[in-house]
Symmetry: C2
Subunit: 694 residues, 2 copies
C-alpha cells in the first residue's frame, strides 16, 4: 500500500497524456514517411485534403463566432450572474469553455490532417500486400485516437489543477460539446448532402460511374467521409470522454473535495485507460497474410485486458476502493457485450441482415419495414445492458456511503470509455481504408490491389458496428452520470444561495413529469431537423451540379482542361450544413432554458431523463437500422437474393439511402445533443433555482 | 345547491347508459330499415359479413381460452395470493375480469354487425344523394359509439356498485384491455396481412384490378377494414374509456372512500359525457348538398359544448369542486388543440403532406426520409399538450389537498375522453363509407354515385386524423393517471401488509432508473414484433393465393362456377394474426412481471414511465407518419407532382405501404400495450411489494 497524493496522480496523468501525444507524433511521421509515387492519386488526394480543410476553416470560423458569443454569455451568467457572484469564477469558466473548444478543434484538425495523408499511403502500400496497407491505415487511425484521448485527458487535468473547481471542468466539457455538435451534426449533414447529390445527379441522372472526376460533387463526397467519419467522430468521442470525466469529477469532488481519493481514482483510471490504449496501439500487429478484422479486434481485447489488470494493480497498490474498481469493470464488460449484440444486428453472417435482404425481393417497402423493425428490436439488448450496468454499479458502490451509488455509475461510464483511444483508432481506420480503396480504383492499381483494399475496408465495417454500439452505450451511461452531476450542482448552488435544494426527481412530481414528457420530444425534433436539413441542402447542391454541367465548356465531353469547380460544391455543402444545423442546435438549447425557467430544476431533471430515454432509443434504432440496411445492400451486391440489378438490389439501395442519414447524420448526433443539453442544465443550475415560474 | 348521494348518481349513470344503448338499438333498426335492392352488392356484402364473423369467432375462441387461464391465475393470486388473503376478493376480481372481456367483446360484435349492414345501405343511399348516404353511414357509426360507451359506463358502474371496491374496477379494466390487445393488435395484423397480400399478388403479380372477385384475398381485404378499423378501434376506445374511469375511481376512493363526492363526480362527468354524445349523435344533420366533413366536425363541437355546459351546471348544482371541473375542461380544450395539430401534419392542404409528395419526385428513399422526419416532428405539439395538461390540471387541483393533484390529471384524461362516444361514431363512419365506396364501384352504380361516395370517404379521412390525435393523447393522459393509480394501489397494499410503502418514484433511485431504461425498450419491441408479424403472415397468405390460383379450375379464366376459397384466406389471416400477436403480448406482460420481481414496486414505477415515454413517441410518430404517407399518395394521385404512374407516384406508393402497418397495426396498438402493462402492474402491486430481489 503506497500513499500518494491526488496531485501526484494528476501529474502522472499529464505525463501519460504527453506520452500519447508523443506516440501520435511518432505515428504521424511514420505514416508520412511511407512511400507514395503515383501522381494521379496524389492529385485526387490533394483535392480531398484541400476540400476537408475548406470545410474545417469555414466550420471553425462560424464556431469562433458562436464561441465568442457563448463565452461572453458565460462570463456574464455562469456559474452565477456576474452581479451576484464572484467574477473570478466566471472568468475561469469562460476560459475553460474556450479551452475546451480549442482542444477539440485541434484534435479534429489533426485527425483530418493524418486521414488525408494515410488514405494515399495505404492505397500505395496495398500494392505490397495486406500487411503494410493495414499497418498504414491502422497507424493513421491511431494518430487520431492518441491525439483525441491525449488532449482530452491533458485538458481536463490542467483545468482542474489550475482552476481547482470541478464546475470549471463542466465548462471545459461544454466547450468540447458545442464543438462536437458542429463537427458531428454539421459533418453529418455535409457528408450525406454530398453523397446523395453526387449519386442522384451523377449516377442516376447523367449515368456517370461512382467517382467520375467530371462530377462536380465527387470531391465533396470524398471529403464528406473525412469530415463526417473522422473529424466528426473524433469530436464526438472527445466530447463523451471529457463529459464522462467531468461528471465523475463533479461527483467525486462533491463527495470529498478536490483532493480526495475519489478524484485521484478518476485520474488514475483515466490515465491507465489511455496508457492501455497506447500499449494496444503500439503492439498491434498482423501476420503477412493475416486477417485485418481479427487484428483490430485482438488489439481491442489486449487493451481491455491491460486496463483491467493495471486498474486492479493500482487499486491494490494505492489502496483505492475495490467496489469502485468493480463498477468500472462492469462497465467494461457490459460495453463489450453490447458491442457484440450490435454486431448481431448488422453483420451479414447473421439472420437480421439476411432477412432484410430477403424481404427486399418484395420491394423497397419491405426493406424499410423489416429493417426498421429490426432496428427497434436492436435497442433492447443495449438498453438492458445500460440498465443492468447502472443498477449493479450503483449497488456495488452504495455501501461506501451516501452519493457513492451515483458515483459508481459515473465510474462504470468511465470504464466503458476507458479504451476509447483504441475505439477511435479502429473507427478512424474505417474511412481511411475506405478512401484508400477509392484511390486504388482511381489510380488504376489493378484487381489484386483492389481486392486487398476491399478486405481492409470490410474489416473496417465489421469493427465499426462493435465500436458504435460501444460508444452509444457509453454516451448513455455518461449522460446518466451527468444527471447525477446536475443534481449535485443544484444542491451545491442551493447551499451557496441558502435556498432549499432538491432531494429527488420524483416522477409523480408534476414539474418533473412535465419536463420528462417535453424532453422526450427533443431528440426526435433534433434528428428530424437534421434529416430535413440533408434533404434541403441536397437540393441546393443538385442545382449547383446542374449549373456547372450546363455552363462549363468541355466538362460533359471530359476535355483535359475542363475542370469542374469542386470547391464551389464543397462550399455549398459546408455553408448549407452549418445553416441547417444551427436551428436544430438552438432548439435543443432554448427548449432546455425554457423548461428550466418554467419548471425549475426539478423540471430539468425530468427533461434530461426524457432526453436520455428517447435519445437512446432513437440513436440505437437509427444507427443499427442504418448499418443493417448498408450491409443488406452489400449482401445482395455480393450475389445473394438476385444480386446486382435485381428487384432486391433496387430495394436494398433504397434502404441504404434511407439508412445513410439515419446512421451518419441523425443517429450519432443525438449523443452530442443530449450531452450539450445536460451540460447546459448543469451550468445553468443556479439560475433555474433562482428564477422559475413553478 | 342540492345534496345528492353517490349511489343516486351511479343509478343515474346506469339510466343514461341504458338510454344510450336504447339509442343504439333505435339507430340500428333505422339503418337496417333503409332500402337495399342490388343483388350483386348484397352478395359481396354477405361475404364480407361472413368473413368478419369468421374472424370474430376464431378470435373470441382463442380469447376465451386466454381469459379462462387468466381468470384462474387471478383467482389464485389477485389482489392477494389466495393463501394470504380473502378469497371473496379474489372471486370478485376474477368475475370482474371476465365481465370486462365479455362486455368489450359484445361491443365489438355489435360494431361489426352494424358496420357490415351500414356499408351496403350507405352505398344504396348514395344513389339518392349525399344526405341520405351520409346519414346512413353516420348513424351506422353511431351505433358503435353508443354501444361502446354505454356498455363501458354500465359495466364500471355495476362493478363498483356490486363489489364496492375500486380495485375490482381495475380487474374489469384489465379484462377490457386484454380483449383490446387481441382486437386491436390482432385486427391490425389481420387487416394489413390481407391488404398487402391482395395487392402484392393481385395487382403487382397478376395484374388484377383492386377488388377483382377472382382474387382469393379480396374479401379478406374488405373484412380487414371492418375487423381492424371498426371492431379493433372500438375495443381500443372501450379500453381507454374504462381505464380512465378506473384510474380516476382508484384515486377518488383512496382520497375519500367509495361514497365520497370525488367518486360521485367521476360518475357524474362520465354520465354527462355520454349524454352529450347521445345528444350530439341524435341532432347530427346535414343539408341536402351539405359538406359531410363539416357535419361531422360540427356535431363534435356541439357535443363538446354541451359537455362543458352540463358539467359546469352539475358542478354548481351539486356543489362539486370547481377546480376539478377546471382540470376536466383543460383536458377537453387541449384534446381539441392536439387534434388540430395532428390534422396539420396529415392534411393534404398543409405543407408537410405536400413536401413529402414533392420529395417523392426524387424516389422512395426521400418519401421515407421526409415522411419519417415530419412524423418525428409531429410528436412535439402533442407531447407538449399532454405535458401542459398534466402540469396545469395538477396545480389546479393540488390546493384541494394531498393526492388531489394526481386525481386532477386523471380527471383531465376523463375530460379528454368525455366525448369518446362522438369520437367512436366518427371513427366508425370512416370504414363504413370506405366499404360503401367499394361496393358502389363493384355494383356498377356509375360515376355520379361514386363521386358522392368519394366525398363521404374523404370526409372520413379528414376527421380520422383529428380523432386519432385525440385518442392517442387521451390514452397518454390515462396511462399517466394509471401510474398514479399504481402508486395508490402499492400504498394501499403496503398498509394492509404492514410494510413500508413508496413515497415517490425518484429517477435517481437505481431501481426506478433500471425500470425506466428497460421500459423504454418494450413498446419498441412490441411494435417491431407486430410489424414483423405482418410480414411473416403476408408470406403465408401469398402462398395460399398462389395455391388457389394454380389449382382451382376455371378461376384464372373467371368462369361462372369457379369461386375462390375466400374463407381459407380469411382463416389464414386470422390464425396467423393471432399467432404473431401472442408472443408480442406475452413479451409485454412477462417483462413487466420480471422487472417487478427484480426491482420491486419502484422499478415498476420507472418501467411504466419508460413505457409511457417511448410508447407515446412511437405511437405519435407511427400514426402521423402513416397518415401523412397515405395522404401524400392520394395528393399525387389527384394529379400533383406528376400524378398517377409518375416516379413520384411509385415512390408515394412505397411510403403508403410502409405507412400502413405503422398507422394501422403498430402505432395504435401501443396504447393498448401500455394500458395492459399498467393494469398488470397495479394488479400485481402487492406481489411486487412482497417478493423482489432489490
Amino acid at each position: 500500500m503506497i500513499q500518494i497524493t491526488t496531485q501526484t496522480i494528476q501529474i502522472v496523468a499529464i505525463l501519460i497524456s504527453l506520452l500519447s501525444l508523443g506516440v501520435a507524433a511518432w505515428l504521424y511521421s511514420w505514416v508520412k514517411s511511407q512511400p507514395s509515387s503515383n501522381a494521379r492519386i496524389a492529385e485526387i488526394g490533394g483535392y480531398i485534403r484541400q476540400g476537408a480543410n475548406t470545410f474545417l476553416r469555414r466550420e471553425y470560423l462560424i464556431l469562433a463566432r458562436f464561441t465568442a458569443i457563448a463565452a461572453v454569455l458565460i462570463l456574464i451568467f455562469l456559474p452565477h450572474p456576474i452581479w451576484s457572484g464572484n467574477i473570478t469564477q466566471n472568468i475561469w469558466m469562460a476560459v475553460s469553455y474556450i479551452f475546451g473548444t480549442v482542444l477539440s478543434a485541434l484534435a479534429g484538425k489533426i485527425g483530418i490532417q493524418i486521414a488525408t495523408i494515410a488514405n494515399i499511403k495505404s492505397a500505395e502500400a496495398a500494392q505490397k500486400g495486406v500487411k503494410p496497407a493495414f499497418m498504414t491505415g491502422f497507424r493513421g487511425g491511431a494518430v487520431m485516437g492518441m491525439a483525441v484521448v491525449g488532449t482530452s485527458l491533458l485538458g481536463v487535468t490542467l483545468v482542474l489543477l489550475i482552476v481547482g473547481d470541478a464546475s470549471a471542468v463542466l465548462g471545459f466539457s461544454f466547450g468540447a460539446s458545442s464543438l462536437a455538435l458542429f463537427a458531428k451534426a454539421g459533418g453529418g449533414i455535409f457528408t450525406k448532402t454530398a453523397d446523395i447529390s453526387a449519386d442522384l445527379v451523377g449516377k442516376v441522372e447523367l449515368g456517370l460511374e461512382e467517382d467520375d472526376p467530371r462530377n462536380p460533387a465527387v470531391i465533396a463526397d470524398n471529403v464528406g467521409d473525412n469530415v463526417g467519419d473522422v473529424a466528426g467522430m473524433g469530436a464526438d468521442l472527445f466530447d463523451s470522454n471529457v463529459a464522462s470525466m467531468a461528471a465523475a469529477l463533479v461527483m467525486a469532488t462533491a463527495l470529498g473535495g478536490p483532493d480526495s481519493k475519489n478524484v485521484a481514482m478518476v485520474f488514475a483510471y483515466a490515465a491507465i485507460g489511455l496508457l492501455s490504449s497506447v500499449i494496444g496501439v503500439a503492439t498491434a500487429r498482423i501476420g503477412k497474410n493475416g486477417d485485418p478484422g481479427k487484428a483490430l479486434n485482438s488489439s481491442t481485447y489486449v487493451t481491455t485486458a491491460i486496463f483491467a489488470v493495471l486498474t486492479a494493480l493500482s487499486t491494490y497498490i494505492f489502496n483505492f476502493e475495490w467496489r469502485i474498481w468493480g463498477a468500472t469493470a462492469i462497465g467494461l464488460i457490459v460495453g463489450t457485450i453490447i458491442g457484440l449484440t450490435s454486431d448481431y444486428f448488422t453483420n451479414d453472417a447473421k439472420p437480421p441482415v439476411r432477412a432484410v435482404a430477403n424481404a427486399s425481393k418484395s420491394g423497397p417497402a419491405f426493406t424499410i419495414l423489416s429493417g426498421f423493425s429490426y432496428g427497434l428490436l436492436s435497442a433492447l439488448p443495449s438498453l438492458i445492458g445500460i440498465a443492468v450496468t447502472a443498477l449493479i454499479s450503483y449497488y456495488i458502490c452504495e455501501p461506501l456511503g451516501s452519493g457513492y451509488g451515483m458515483f459508481g455509475i459515473s465510474m462504470s461510464a468511465l470504464g466503458m470509455l476507458s479504451i476509447v483511444g483504441m475505439i477511435i483508432s479502429n473507427d478512424a481506420y474505417g474511412p481511411i481504408v475506405d478512401n484508400a480503396r477509392g484511390l486504388a480504383e482511381m489510380g488504376g492499381f489493378g484487381e489484386k490491389v483492389i481486392a486487398i483494399a476491399d478486405e481492409l475496408d470490410s474489416a473496417g465495417n465489421t469493427v465499426k458496428a462493435v465500436t458504435k454500439g460501444f460508444s452509444i452505450s457509453a454516451a448513455g451511461l455518461t449522460v446518466i452520470s451527468l444527471l447525477g452531476a446536475f443534481m449535485s450542482e443544484v444542491n451545491t448552488a442551493a447551499s451557496e444561495l441558502g435556498v432549499q435544494g432538491i432531494a429527488n426527481f420524483d416522477i409523480m412530481n408534476p414539474t418533473v413529469f412535465f419536463g420528462l414528457i417535453v424532453g422526450v420530444a427533443i431528440p426526435a425534433v433534433f434528428s428530424a431537423m437534421l434529416m430535413l436539413g440533408v434533404d434541403k441542402n441536397a437540393q441546393r447542391m443538385v442545382a449547383e451540379i446542374h449549373r456547372q454541367w450546363d455552363t462549363i465548356p468541355g466538362l460533359k465531353e471530359g476535355k483535359e482542361n475542363a475542370k469542374p469547380d469542386y470547391d464551389k460544391c464543397i462550399d455549398i455543402a459546408t455553408t448549407g450544413s452549418l445553416k441547417e444545423l444551427i436551428p436544430a442546435g438552438l432548439v435543443a438549447i432554448f427548449s432546455t432554458i425554457l423548461v428550466g425557467f418554467i419548471g425549475g430544476a426539478s423540471a430539468i431533471g425530468g427533461f434530461l431523463t426524457g432526453n436520455i430515454t428517447s435519445g437512446l432509443l432513437l440513436a440505437l434504432l437509427m444507427s443499427n437500422a442504418g448499418g443493417l440496411w448498408d450491409n443488406s445492400k452489400k449482401y445482395v451486391e455480393a450475389g445473394n437474393c438476385g444480386g446486382k440489378g435485381s428487384t432486391a438490389h433496387k430495394a436494398a439501395v433504397v434502404g441504404d439511402t434511407v439508412g445513410d442519414p439515419f446512421k451518419d447524420t441523425a443517429g450519432p448526433s443525438i449523443n452530442t445533443q443530449i450531452t450539450v443539453v445536460s451540460l447546459v442544465s448543469s451550468l445553468l443550475a443556479s439560475l433555474f433555482l433562482m428564477y422559475s415560474i413553478f
